[in-house]
Amino acid sequence: MKKIKCALIGSGNIGTDLIYKVKRSPVLEPVWMVGIDAASEGLARARDMGLKTTADGVDGLLPHVLDDGIQIAFDATSAYVHAENSRKLNELGVMMIDLTPAAIGPLCVPPVNLREHADKAEMNVNMISCAGQATIPIVNAVARVQSVDYAEIVATLASKSIGPGTRMNLDEFTYTTSNAIVQVGGARRGKAIAIINPAEPPLIMRNTINCMTDDAPDQARIIDSVLAMIAEVQKYVPGYRLVNGPVFDGKRVSVFMEVAGLGDYLPKYAGNLDIMTAAACRTAEMFAEEILAGTLQLKATEAA
């Protein structure tokens, strides 16, 4: 069966984990890994796994895009370089899946709004953040039952699973996630809090979702909606698990989740890494299925 060829940009934790997931996909094939340091471990590992590599950033990839038939690129670099990467690749008709907090394209949480983005043939979709992927499905599960005035999430991440990029840019993580709680989750106001815990052995990623409903919560319908949503996420993240709740305190609805990863590149505690790459991969697959079926044609954006 024909597969859609992909480039992975950024050879850190996320880019490396993506290699495993994209390789397993029935419709995607990883072809290029793009880095900026010729001596990096990430590039060496990608070469060992059979990918072509360049250490010259996206500019090193551009001459090969058409020859190698690259149609989808995953960007796991930083918010600061994503816009340029996206512009250059969109001009060549490559669709971008943005795993940085840049968020220049629409925000995507697969079980909530992926279908919508595929139907619009978006050329750039943003995956928000690991905390966003882990919590926004739950916010939406409550908000689709009744209106939510305020949703607040707390993501606790194992210190070993957090790379230097996220550490240096925690504010961007906070802003992007808070915004997505509103835009995608459907709450009127949103707030995100991140905690990095260094416990040994490392803690599995934890997420607490609190929603304040406008009216008294319809407990039975909220419980059903949340459990149904969890089953949807489990289709691409099997380790997405309800620990406690939904529990109700006045108008406050609280849900306590745990996310264990598949242990592809980082160990299972790094569910944050897994849910991000799995969501990105699921998103790429939806676009790839449409391309293969002939129902979607990627169009190069015009050079500015």
Binding site: D171, K191, I193, P198
Partner: protein, 353 residues
């Protein structure tokens, strides 16, 4: 141990925490008027630094940490212009507070900031420390739960914060777990690696009754700044009681510049009457100090205990065993529910359709 006389003439800067750490003990319910009254009295007593924010700092207003009676901006705007000599500081924990919040606090009169991270995660603070310096603020790197890192490890974390621009590095005994020798070792390790002009501070909690002794140990080892709060108003068994500490300093010849009797009056006449509960070493706060648990956990643990029927002490000990750190208040409710299920007091939810 050096003799008391060796500290004679040593200058130490006191930093009051009543209106920030004390917010925890008041469930964030201190009014703007009370803030102005307390800060004005502390200013008049010559306390040079006063921290004013939500207990969780900038960005702290949340379901996770409670909603204060007013915004941080409203508190700062009311307090800062009234100060004759004291500088107003704020707390910022990256992951919750942001640079936008810091800019806003600066615009409202804050001129000093504690940028706080867990004691092993200093590298989440470079943006915020650098931004504070850019604003011209007095910038402190505040290493929380410092008992969970060894002296050398803590010194390396302090060195990182210094490299981002922090002018002072604090050892923060958030659990009130440390004993004087722990403090001495950590201050000495920091002093050995930091630049001579970088100051060291100590922030204590009184859960084992060691706030004053630990602060003196810090000074002996080279610390120049000490956090405390009048009448000890703060999380857990409170902070180092500032008036007690000031009295000990005076006896030892350590120069703080504060008026001891005025400070004693602030504690007795203003702070104590404000307390919802007597801030002291009670069973739960002693558990924090004994088990090394974050001090702000005590009140939410008592609430979870009432809600789910699991004793607060059991919840706190379990949180310590699970190595929960500052800011993880959500895990109190979660842990209480998990324990309640194990004890047959609570069931999992089930679908109705």
């Amino acid at each position: 141990m050096s003799s008391p006389s060796s500290l004679k003439g040593r200058k130490v800067m006191l930093h009051d925490m009543c209106l920030r750490d004390g917010m925890h003990a008041k469930r964030e319910q201190i009014s703007v008027e009370q803030m102005v009254k307390v800060a004005t009295a502390l200013d008049d007593a010559g306390v040079p630094m006063i921290q004013v924010t939500h207990g969780g700092g900038l960005g702290g207003n949340s379901l996770q940490h409670g909603f204060a009676l007013a915004s941080n901006e409203d508190y700062l705007k009311a307090v800062a212009p009234k100060m004759k000599q004291a500088k107003i500081s704020v707390l910022l924990i990256p992951g919750m507070g942001t640079m936008r919040d810091l800019q806003s606090a600066y615009d409202c009169g804050a001129r000093s900031v504690h940028v706080a991270t867990h004691c092993t995660e200093a590298d989440t603070s470079p943006q915020h420390i650098a931004f504070a310096r850019k604003l011209g603020m007095d910038a402190t790197g505040f290493l929380m739960m410092a008992h969970l890192n060894d002296p050398q490890g803590l010194a390396q974390q302090g060195k990182l914060m210094e490299s981002y621009g922090a002018q002072t590095i604090y050892i923060t005994d958030s659990a009130g777990y440390m004993l004087p020798a722990d403090v001495t070792d950590r201050v000495a390790a920091l002093r050995a690696v930091l630049k001579p002009e970088t100051e060291i501070g100590f922030h204590g909690h009184h859960n084992l009754g060691m706030g004053v002794a630990n602060s003196i140990a810090a000074i002996e080892a080279g610390a120049r700044r000490i956090d405390g709060s009048a009448a000890g108003l703060g999380a857990g068994a409170g902070n180092t009681p500032l008036e007690v500490f000031a009295a000990v300093c005076e006896r030892m010849g350590i120069e703080t510049g504060v008026d001891l009797f005025k400070l004693m009056d602030v504690a007795e006449d203003i702070i104590v009457p404000m307390m919802d509960h007597l801030v002291r070493v009670d069973r739960e706060s002693l558990t924090l100090g004994y088990a090394g648990v974050y001090s702000t956990f005590v009140l939410p643990a008592k609430r979870a205990a009432a809600r789910f029927g699991v004793p607060a002490r059991d919840i706190l000990v379990e949180l310590g065993r699970k190595k929960m750190i500052g800011g993880q208040e959500d895990m109190i409710e979660d842990t209480a529910m998990t324990m309640a299920k194990e004890r047959g007091l609570l069931k999992d939810v089930a679908r109705t359709t």
